[in-house]
């Protein structure tokens, strides 16, 4: 039996090639080049990246759905490439496309899948918890994206898994469902599940994740807790921005130090960016005072994970 300090999932130097690809003269294309990560019990580990970065491929290798071309993966002490039934019972999977048969009805399908486990979670309780009751007997092809998503989440939880893979869990969810799903994810984390999720939404990672791997172009560009990522990027760049609203057509740039850039993003709305220091705020306040101008709004933006992500992943220019 593994002790609880051993990561539930360890991926070390994962390599995945696809092809042969005709456009590359029949050569193989490396889509994952050496991703390493680990996921612990009682934590939400997020793989954050743009579409096509390699997040889904990475977790599908960990789920045993894709064969890898290099590196090692250990999931609950086993190699998931040929997973035993015992391992599959301990791991819950929610696929990006749901993987639900369109002609099935949620309740019947969940009862069927529950039968694959020795001691499944109560189907009724999951139906209640995820609000599936109103459409539990509607064929899945007639459900909305968010409804399908919740059925797929319920299906992944039926076996009371120790490890839970969620591929883009918030895709297609309306704000209420999103809150229900996020609350459930936090509760499962509290229960001690190792939760591995992928997302291209910074907000999801910021709200849910204990630890974030930023995946870009088949490699891990950075990793850390959300505060770590934010502070590392802030100290690397020291870059903030200040926005304020006032009368249109002003030129506050003349009063500020030259390395700061001022742009009027729309009439009367100004953004100052660069290495802002307290003295710069004083310059700006003096400029207002000299003209007896009061800004109608003023905001100092701290760096968001989005800035970090864009900076680290280098995706701005693409």
């Amino acid at each position: 039996m593994l002790n609880s300090d051993t990561p539930a999932l360890v991926i070390d130097g994962l390599i995945k090639d696809v092809g042969p690809i005709a456009a590359l003269d029949g050569r193989m294309k490396r889509i994952i080049s050496g991703i390493s990560l680990s996921a612990h019990r009682g934590q939400v580990t997020a793989l954050l990246g743009a579409n096509g970065a390699g997040k889904t491929t990475t977790i599908e290798c960990a789920q045993g759905l894709q064969k890898r071309d290099g590196g090692t993966i250990t999931l609950l002490g086993e190699d998931p490439e040929r997973p035993s039934a015992a391992l599959r019972a301990r791991v819950g999977v929610m696929l990006q496309d749901g993987g639900l048969p369109p002609s099935a009805r949620p309740l019947a399908l969940l009862r069927h899948v529950a039968g694959m486990y020795a001691t499944p979670r109560s189907v009724d309780e999951l139906v209640e918890r995820l609000g599936l009751g109103s459409f539990r007997d509607t064929t899945i092809r007639r459900l909305s994206g968010g409804q399908k998503q919740r059925v797929a989440l319920a299906a992944s939880l039926l076996g009371n898994p120790e490890v839970l893979f969620l591929d883009e869990p918030s895709a297609g969810l309306d704000p209420q469902s999103r809150r229900v799903v996020f609350d459930l994810i936090r509760e499962l984390r509290q229960e001690g599940l190792a939760i591995i999720l992928t997302t291209h939404l910074l907000d999801d990672a910021q709200k849910l994740a204990d630890y974030v791997y930023i995946v870009d172009n088949g490699a891990s560009a950075a990793a850390g807790t959300v505060p770590e990522l934010l502070s590392s990027a802030a100290s690397a760049q020291g870059h903030r921005s200040l926005t304020f609203e006032s009368a249109a057509g002003l030129d506050p740039g003349a009063a500020l130090r030259p390395h700061l850039t001022v742009t009027e993003t729309r009439p009367g709305s100004y953004q100052i960016s660069g290495l802002l220091e307290p003295a710069d705020l004083a310059d700006l306040a003096n400029w207002w005072a000299a003209r007896d101008t009061m800004p109608t709004s003023l905001q100092l933006a701290s760096r968001s994970l989005e800035d970090v992500f864009l900076a680290l992943a280098g995706t701005d220019g693409r």
């Binding site: 070390d12 130097g13 050496g34 934590q43 045993g64 993987g99 002609s103 590392s232």
Partner: protein, 289 residues
């Protein structure tokens, strides 16, 4: 820019094999508030293998029986063929009554309908919608999924055979007892060959192509493949070929068994050959996604 994240790279991020988490210990163990909670009591376990496969078989059987188009292919068209062949003079002069010659072939047609066309189409669309991938991550697994499909094909085939046999008996069918005992395993062998072929098509072609191909082959093999009409009633050009096709082999084996009570060894070898080849090809080339 992407290389200038000093903290996270140096302290937190595993970079290369040998220095990664496996060798260097937990990567993100530094997190403070994590207290792995009270989950030591239970380790989730799979249901027993037999129960998983039986469940999947039952589920797939009910899904097939609820599908109207498949029922037409599985029951209505074979019954129409049975009635037509017993009414029209297509099978006269072959040394047995029309219904005695027609019934074994129609039973073989049922196996092709369900195992090849019906099951192939269903699997093709399951693959498209990711159902195969999702179920293969549950304790059912890939092998259990395939076993469940084979069970469902056999279960539906039992129902089809019962319906066809009852109608045929009313139309005057008189099979020899030894023929029935031979016919049951032969029909099962045929179903296995056609299931393997159906899975091969469904696992390698797009579902729309699978739909077109399995329906087209059902019609072509049904009409000219030696399954319903004995080879002697087919155009001369195909007569020698059909004995090597799964359709002709199954049709002939069923007729030899249910008309004369004889086992056609050659046809059995051909069916076994198709089963082995198609299974090996499906294992090799089946794409789950």
């Amino acid at each position: 820019m992407s290389n200038s994240t000093p903290q996270s790279r140096s302290t937190a991020e595993p970079t290369s094999a040998g220095h990664g988490p496996a060798a260097g210990g937990p990567v993100n163990a530094a997190l403070p508030e994590r207290a792995p909670a009270e989950r030591t009591a239970r380790t989730p376990a799979p249901a027993p293998l037999r129960s998983r496969v039986l469940r999947q078989g039952r589920y797939e059987t009910l899904t097939m029986l609820r599908n109207g188009e498949q029922l037409i292919l599985a029951i209505v068209l074979p019954l129409l063929a049975l009635v037509a062949l017993s009414v029209l003079p297509l099978l006269d002069g072959l040394g047995a009554s029309r219904i005695n010659i027609a019934t074994p072939g129609v039973l073989a047609l049922c196996a092709m309908s369900t195992a090849f066309t019906g099951q192939g189409i269903a699997t093709g669309f399951d693959r498209r919608y990711g159902v195969l991938r999702f179920l293969s991550t549950t304790p059912l697994g890939k092998a259990g999924l395939i076993a469940g499909k084979v069970l469902a094909v056999l279960a539906v085939l039992v129902l089809q055979s019962a319906v066809v046999a009852v109608v045929a008996l009313f139309l005057g069918w008189h099979p020899p007892l030894v023929g029935i005992l031979l016919g049951i395993p032969l029909l099962a062998l045929g179903a296995i060959s056609f299931t393997a072929l159906g899975l091969l098509v469904a696992g390698t072609a797009r579902p729309e192509a699978t739909l077109a191909l399995t329906n087209l082959l059902w019609i072509l093999l049904g009409a000219l493949g030696g399954i319903v009409l004995p080879p002697t009633r087919l155009p001369v050009v195909v007569q020698d070929v059909v004995f090597f096709l799964p359709s002709g082999a199954l049709g002939e084996a069923m007729r030899n068994a249910l008309i004369a009570g004889q086992l056609n060894f050659f046809a059995v070898v051909i069916l076994l050959g198709w089963s082995v080849l198609a299974s090996a090809a499906a294992v090799r080339w089946f794409k789950w996604s």
